[in-house]
């Protein structure tokens, strides 16, 4: 097995279906008065879960995405651009990604309120940046997302 960073090691243990359902339920609750978000279907859950599994793929003893930040960048980009859901793709992507980072990166909540707000608002801005990007620029966009993730990992070290 390849050597993994600590965050990737934790990522592998997470129940992704639970996270996807939790984010979907949060969106249903928050937007029921405005613009209802549909209940996520088992096929949609599988599609998003497959994206997360693909980020963990290992070929010839080498990880396709060798670091936690690369994995998260791939997940974030793929969910936003994949349009797996009828509504709320960006919100679901941002919700899933911030949950995964919150779980895998130590002590992210030990920071002050300003730092935590900046983490979540910049996640929304990153989702918009991905959505607006041209598919031909995917490499550069994923690199940008990776640097966004690293910023919040490095802040803990």
């Amino acid at each position: 097995m390849p050597t993994r960073d600590n965050q990737s090691y934790i990522l592998e243990k997470i129940d992704f279906e639970g996270i996807i359902k939790f984010v979907n339920q949060s969106l249903i609750n928050q937007y029921k008065e405005l613009e209802p978000v549909p209940q996520i279907s088992p096929i949609e859950i599988n599609n998003i879960r497959d994206v997360i599994y693909r980020s963990l793929a290992v070929y010839s003893n080498t990880e396709s995405y060798g670091t936690f930040s690369k994995k998260i960048a791939f997940i974030f980009y793929s969910i936003v651009k994949g349009h797996y859901l009828q509504n709320g793709n960006k919100r679901t992507a941002a919700g899933v990604v911030t949950m995964l980072i919150s779980i895998c990166v130590d002590n992210i909540y030990n920071n002050d309120e300003e730092f935590i707000d900046s983490f979540f608002i910049s996640a929304a801005e990153t989702a918009i940046y991905i959505a607006e990007s041209n598919a031909n620029d995917s490499k550069e966009v994923i690199q940008y997302v990776e640097s966004w993730v690293r910023k919040y990992i490095d802040a803990q070290n």
Binding site: K13, K21, S26, Q30, A94, G95, S102, I103, I121
Partner: protein, 49 residues
């Protein structure tokens, strides 16, 4: 809250238990901050329509 407790498939390892406790402790912070994040994205889509 119950959903958060079930996020980990392997619940027996010490570090995982500690991590779960931290998540539960911080879940109100997460939920509140995530609401603002969702609103930014909702407003972005609403403005585009």
């Amino acid at each position: 809250m119950k959903a958060i407790l079930n996020f980990f498939t392997n619940r027996k390892q010490g570090s995982t238990v500690k991590r779960r406790e931290n998540i539960v402790k911080n879940s109100p912070v997460f939920n509140s901050a995530a609401k603002s994040m969702y609103d930014v994205l909702y407003k972005y889509d609403a403005d585009k329509r």
